[in-house]
Symmetry: C2
Subunit: 154 residues, 2 copies
DNA sequence: TATGAAAGAGTGGGGCT
DNA sequence: AGCCCCACTCTTTCATA
């Protein structure tokens, strides 16, 4: 386990970048009252230590023609490790899949998808999920709205 | 509905930035065989049109001291619009909440949280969720692993 | 470790095709 | 639209404390 050694400045950097990932190093340095080089070193260190994992763009799925989002709950018939991992891989590799949660409890996977319409949703369930023999059943919930929370620094 | 008018080049830009959000404009232009200014204009247009919503950093919650993630399913007693929205707002504003799905179906909300330990998880459920009278019940599932899918362009 | 300054790299606007 | 050029800004390295 990475025992993160984070001081106040590191946390401020993380908070600032969480709010605006596209902040320039210069602006970030000014905002925190650091020299630009110092700030750059800090940020690089946070990346190197894996505390900042990566930077991602968020696309508007609806604008791209995939206005329907859903969570598909997947329950398995049995839970041998190998089969579970194989299914996990298959789910992640399925087109239109945004994220896959492998969970403990009533369900085994929660699959978040964005699709063109209800037909495409059905096709994913039938052709990419229930085709696997290890899948006992699925239950689909339409996503009305997805909002981000305050995050881990909140 | 934003009827997005996207040509081949736009899609290539989106694919490239989905893979590496921190690609410089210069590198992106070279990769696609465009002039740098042309490429910059394209990217700006995609942002202005909202197709690229924003850029975000992903933090390692575990490294920050929040190694336990869970999905809390929330079911409501009744569904008057006003109360539902108020609860949505409250959930999003709760510390340690990463995302909140408002869904249609068996559950009403799926709340994705990252916490320090089981005690903190219990505290969220008891102090931030079941305190709301409109909440009939919750069911918590531990997240073993969360993986990204191929996304909307997959 | 943090800093300032200078070299190097990247960005974005104007005029043109 | 797209492209080239150029002035500008930002990043990064390095010597120094």
């Amino acid at each position: 386990m990475t025992k993160a050694q984070l001081d106040e400045v590191d946390l401020e950097i993380l908070a600032a970048l969480s709010a605006r990932a596209d902040l320039t190093n210069k602006a970030l340095a000014q905002q925190l009252g650091l020299a630009e080089s110092t700030c750059a070193h800090r940020v690089r260190s946070l990346r190197d230590r894996g505390i900042i994992r990566d930077t991602r763009v968020r696309l508007d799925a609806a604008a791209l023609g995939y206005p329907l989002e859903a969570i598909i709950k997947v329950r398995l018939a049995n839970h041998t490790g190998e089969k579970v991992n194989a299914l996990f891989d298959a789910l992640v590799a399925t087109p239109q899949v945004l994220q896959v949660f492998h969970v403990a409890g009533v369900d085994d996977f929660l699959v978040h998808v964005a699709v063109r319409d209800a037909v495409a949703l059905r096709d994913i369930v039938l052709e990419h999920i229930t085709v696997h023999p290890v899948v006992r059943g699925t239950e689909t919930q339409l996503v009305f709205e997805l909002r981000d929370g305050r995050g881990v620094l909140g």
